[in-house]
Symmetry: C2
DNA sequence: GTCTATAATTCGATAGAC
DNA sequence: GTCTATCGAATTATAGAC
């Protein structure tokens, strides 16, 4: 079951290229050219172009689901859960920025029935985030917002980070980044309250 | 110079379909089928597939640039400028949600030299947002954050809204939405400070 | 694991009649 | 403004030799 280093190299290079050019715009010829061999060799490693996308997407998707399920089962209060959610996002983004980029940008290129499966799982994830926000408001830890609006805004506040990581990974301290983003989400930009 | 209603209908339908399927995944045959005519008729309305994308992208891009230039020249303090920026985003998103969607998702499908032109303009836009944040921190109106991190987080906080609008436009009160998002960006979710 | 060769399909775009 | 017909290029994928 060992994955040859050549296959691993192919998967890594392809991931980066698909992120950069987009899944549809990246051809099998592009991927082969990046490896310096002919198109037909790709099929020694994978079954099809779409299976490549599926592998990337469902791997990182599972990481997020495993992470949030741990958070939901934890004994944290809503504030603690929200902090853990931010931490989860930054941990996964810092270790797998290109996969996170695909998760954000390329999911809709999945074909049915995988597309519906993916969207369903994402909806489940968002519902769990919604519960954290909802409980925080009912507890009085969070202010009274429209729950859906704030759920989406919180999710959006961490969704851009993969891009930052890919371009500046050498200069990013993930702990400082986590601190800043957490501070923003909890307290906003305003100094005078 | 009057645009025929048939052309306008084509442009509107195509915009929606390109948003839904993605630019690369949407074929000229798809667009023709949506209109109920043959592919060749498309070229009565547009020069090429890419000119279609360019038209959509540079129109909405200009709207954002015009808007932020007015804000930068205004007499508002940094807090007022940031509020105006949020207002601009929600105004453009509520009136042109599909164009905003293309701006977020499809810009990289532009070909050179249009691609570089677009990216340059976007960088200019982000620099202006950065100046607002920077001045707010120096004035003491905003708390001391890493400027780049907070600039990107603020931008991300409003970037998701086009998606919300396309799916729920009938139930959205843009003034309430603006109030909620502004409140989030300025004060965060935390109740106890 | 790498190659050559090619199948089978789809793509954007054009020519020209009506 | 709509059609039929078609071109040339590009695309994913497969067959089979080495």
């Amino acid at each position: 079951m060992k994955i040859s280093s050549r296959k691993k190299q192919f998967l890594d290079e392809s991931l980066k290229m698909i992120h950069k050019k987009g899944y549809k715009a990246t051809t099998m010829r592009d991927l082969a050219g990046q490896m310096g061999f002919e198109v037909s060799n790709i099929y020694n490693f994978i079954e099809s172009k779409e299976s490549l996308l599926e592998t990337y997407l469902f791997q990182i998707s599972e990481d997020f689901h495993t992470g949030i399920n741990h958070i939901m089962k934890s004994s944290h209060d809503p504030s603690g859960k929200l902090k853990a959610l931010i931490s989860l996002n930054i941990k996964l983004t810092s270790t797998k920025p290109y996969q996170v980029g695909l998760l954000v940008n390329e999911w809709r290129n999945l074909q049915e029935p995988k597309l519906s499966k993916f969207v369903d799982k994402r909806t489940q994830y968002e519902k769990k985030v919604r519960i954290i926000i909802e409980e925080g408001i009912e507890d009085g830890q969070f202010r009274r917002f429209d729950i859906d609006i704030i759920t989406h805004t919180v999710l959006a506040s961490v969704r851009w980070i993969y891009y930052w990581y890919i371009d500046h990974s050498e200069n990013i301290n993930p702990y400082e980044l986590e601190k800043q983003v957490t501070d923003f989400i909890f307290n906003g930009v305003n100094r005078t309250k």
